[in-house]
Symmetry: C2
Subunit: 123 residues, 2 copies
Amino acid sequence: MPRAATTSDAFNAVAEPRRRQILSYLALRERPVGDIVETLSLDQPSVSKHLRVLRRVGLVRVRCEGRHKFYRTNAEAIRPLHEWAGTFERYWQHQLLSVKKRAEEKMTKLNSDFDPINPKEKP
Amino acid sequence: MPRAATTSDAFNAVAEPRRRQILSYLALRERPVGDIVETLSLDQPSVSKHLRVLRRVGLVRVRCEGRHKFYRTNAEAIRPLHEWAGTFERYWQHQLLSVKKRAEEKMTKLNSDFDPINPKEKP
DNA sequence: TTGACATATTCCCATATAAGTATGTATTGT
DNA sequence: ACAATACATACTTATATGGGAATATGTCAA
């Protein structure tokens, strides 16, 4: 089986760096496609294709006005990602404490074993 | 050009649902590969391959002990993801407010236009 | 209507999968 | 030494991709 489709969920959709750029750009305010093309220096068909993926997973919304289509980020669709990653917050906090503790132990060890005035390294 | 490699960054690595499962499982405490295989009902080679991907992007760490290899989630590596998604927090909060406001406007409109005692819908 | 403009779609292709199967490697117990 | 255990790797295959180029669709303006 190949990789899951980019359109299968937000996780797969935002795996592409260009799509993350587009989402950041469109979060500020709605923009026509041409603005994305210029600002991010991408080919127009490429942008259209990325936007289609983002549309399918609900990460962007469109508002049509004449021959322009204004896209904007639907930030709500990014929340599940944020929340999934957030479930690990307590673990990385814990890990930071562990690292700190180990560092302190190391310092203690250094302070007792190692004399900075008369170093024993490479004697 | 094909899709970026799953090993190119955390975003691509966690796009796979099984790898997210593995990360959640290994966040609680370190586990040997066999435990993952049993608990998540996956084939052993499949788990090994997922773990290789996760290792390459630093999402898991290994501790070897005899013929066992204990894997654990390196939650630190999930932080960038959390932080990227977090940059949209103010936008979805704003969007929630907008939705709320529009809903209230709608209610106001309904309350003035629409008489619940003598409805005009489908007369 | 005709042409210019904005955006979307189609086609082609090199490439990276993920699952399944089989095999390789290292370590332990007897 | 040998078998068993734990894990990793190699190989095959169907499939989805992203970029580029060309083309299609849709809308406005003169």
